[in-house]
Amino acid sequence: MAHEHSTDYLHHGKGLWSWLTTLDHKRIGLMYMIAILTFFFFGGIFALLIRLELMHPGTQFMSPTVYNQVMTLHGTMMVFMVIIPGIPAFLGNFVLPIHLGAKDVAFPRLNLFSWYIFIAGALIAASAVVFGGVDTGWTFYTPYSIQTYKGTVFMVLGAFVMGFSSILTGLNFIVTVHKLRAPGMTMNRVPLFIWSIYSTAIIQVLATPVLAITLLLLVMERTLGIGFFDASLGGDPVLFQHFFWFYSHPAVYIMILPAMGIISELVVTFSRKVVFGYTAIAYSSIGIAAVSFLVWGHHMFVSGQSEFAGKIFSFITMLVGVPTAIKMFNWVSTMYKGSIRMDSPMLFAVGFMFLFAIGGVTGIFLATLSIDVHLHDTYFVVAHFHYVMVGGTLMALMGGIYYWFPKMFGKMFNETLARITFALIFLGFNITFFPQFIAGVQGMPRRYQDYIPEYEWLNRISTIGSWLIGAGFLLVLYVLIQGLRKGKPAGPNPWGAKTLEWTIPSPPPHENFTTTPVVSGGPYEYR
């Protein structure tokens, strides 16, 4: 067999200890995967419980006190522990260095350290359940968050710590993209996935510190009684909202930009065609990242913020729609005159575009001042961000997992079952969340444990849909485990893709490339 240095990364070093101390970006990526899938499992259980409680008006099995905590755990886990780290830390770690033709990220030790910070933060956040619970919702609005259960402090500290993992990962990726590209790989030749991860990293580095400071102020106010946000201590509760959304709106793009990067890769590979409008797609990622810092006030149109500020925020928010539209049209144009195959990753990519289109246009409703006055904090908002976060990010993540699974493990999964998982998740998703748009338009407020009987039929449909999604993801788990155990060998390039990761064996050798690749053209040269 080959020399020690060319064993594949899965067998390079044995035992749990070799994983926990690994500096290999591929292994660290998989370690993120295990952590994130675990959190996703719990977050998903909470979601199913929420839907079950809301199936009928009145209390089914969760009192308001319990419901509010479950709702908060679902939100915080899904946002801070699943969707934000999901694509960059997991798929980004695995794919980014190989996409660039590099042996690893720029700072492998820092990369491993980021994983430990993430786990530590997650544990601190989870300990909130033991130390009195949290019921603030994932937004921690003051002054409520200052007055309620003690567990809030742990949850907030956990989010604070996880933020550092996000900042350091972003920093690592920025340096890697600048410094470790293979000879000949100019910035105009990197795959579009890199552009999206790069734009995301910029937001991670610039916006996350603001969240960190905000959360720290909140903890100081709670523990030391310093009045930043509490009116009775001379603070301003709305100030917290400004700080919080200054991070959390850009964070929406931390969640969605990497997803867009995956979609670019999938559409190209499964259309066997050069991408349409490389430059426009690449720069629209940067454009979205830049504008995302200037729109936070659209979460606060009815908070008492001045009308003039509301007007400015409404117009700037509309601008985000433009680069988003460019991306959507360019993906569809890439399919024009292509050679399209609807394998499971492409099904998820198409599902993404379908759901993200709806998520996108409903964002325009919410950015429109007069319309938002009615829709703000109703189920319309809940449906909108689930179309973007689940219909967008999670669909792309699923597509990405199926797409890179053969590369990660050298084995194929059962394609038929994988297509069934798509059908279940896609249908279930629409059945769950589309009725919520209608409930919102009719005025049903979000974060309600109980509701008036008029909304019952919509909620019942929604709950039934959630079971389909649950079944879909359980089947995904089965497909992945079965693929791992019994999958047929995948070969280096099962999808006929062009980017660098498909030029090396599956699973890749420990050092990725035995000889450094030299790049002489764009990433998608189907001629």
């Binding site: 009116a231 409404s314 007069s370």
Partner: protein, 307 residues
């Protein structure tokens, strides 16, 4: 439209127009995008794994079109939304004013004659109504779906909204800002009645409490405001209350401020924040913590009444 809650305020029509425009332009663009995608999926199905595909890297004109057209449409929508929103935020001067104080988990309404109600708001049909909002504890949000209005009630602040009901009947009032355990139970009814019925409602006064203005007057004397602020226009240590409400005043250190509810509130709680030009500093005691929300409301109502 059936799926919308009944519209029963003067905003309803304009609001529904903007809504319909955004809805239909969204549906059309989704059909173009998703329809195109589905058509391509079937039209360009893969035949063999060696298929040659067109090498089209970009098309500047097409890309310009699908950035420029959305841009124009989006800006148009934003401008239209702003126009309707502007009406929602332009307050009529002849409105009936109702003070609403939110607390965990109830809505308390106080009318100018001192009549108070909990969980029920009674207003006359066809007359503008301004709701002056504040909160005793955490942030709540005042939402009447049928009127298309919503505004947060923030502790330590005064916010407002207005509407004019067009149809008699009972409508839902919801709290839409998460406020803890019984958030979903913080409901109320808005009862829109004929003017005559409203007058009768105002005349019967089961509480028989003092009106906010009356209470404000008592506080004005008890809290010794009277020592420095007259009600006849003569300035003493501080400005006179006569005609001060709604006036633009010059501030020490530059700038002007409108003497509205928020400014008066701030000046009571923290007098040093914005001193009117020409008056001494550090004369007035800080009332932060000394007055409760109801008392502050009463004082503001009293000052407003000094026309």
């Amino acid at each position: 439209m059936k799926y919308m809650p009944l519209q029963a305020s003067t905003f309803g029509e304009d609001w529904d127009l903007v809504w319909n425009f955004v809805l239909w332009s969204s549906i059309i663009s989704c059909i173009i995008l998703i329809g195109g995608m589905i058509y391509f999926i079937f039209r360009y199905q893969r035949k063999t794994d060696k298929d040659k595909t067109a090498y089209i890297t970009h098309n500047t004109f097409a890309e310009f079109l699908w950035s420029f057209i959305p841009l124009v449409v989006f800006m148009g929508i934003a401008a239209w939304g702003w126009e309707v929103y502007k009406d929602m935020r332009t307050f009529p001067t002849d409105a009936l004013e109702v003070n609403v104080t939110a607390q965990k988990w109830a809505w308390n309404m106080t009318y100018s004659n001192g009549r108070t109600l909990t969980g029920k708001l009674v207003v006359p049909v066809g007359k503008p109504v301004t709701i002056l909002l504040t909160s005793k504890d955490v942030i709540h949000s005042f939402f009447i779906p049928s009127f298309r209005v919503k505004q947060d009630a923030v502790p330590g602040r005064r916010s407002k909204l207005w509407f004019q009901a067009t149809r008699e009947g009972n409508y839902h009032l919801f709290c839409t800002e998460y406020c803890g355990m019984n958030h979903s139970g913080m409901l109320g009814t808005v009862s829109v009645v004929a003017q005559a019925d409203f007058d009768a409602f105002m005349a019967e006064n089961p509480n028989a409490e003092v009106s906010p203005i009356e209470l404000g007057k008592q506080l004005y004397q008890q809290q010794a405001c009277i020592g420095c602020h007259t009600t006849d226009g003569k300035p003493l240590v501080g400005p006179s209350f006569q005609g001060i409400f709604g006036k633009s005043v010059k501030i020490k250190g530059g700038g002007t401020v409108t003497a509205d509810e928020n400014y008066i509130r701030e000046s009571i709680l923290n007098p040093a924040a914005k001193i009117v030009e020409g008056f001494p500093e550090n004369q007035m005691p800080v009332y932060q913590g000394a007055l409760n929300e109801d008392q502050i409301t009463a004082l503001i109502e009293f000052i407003k009444a000094q026309k």
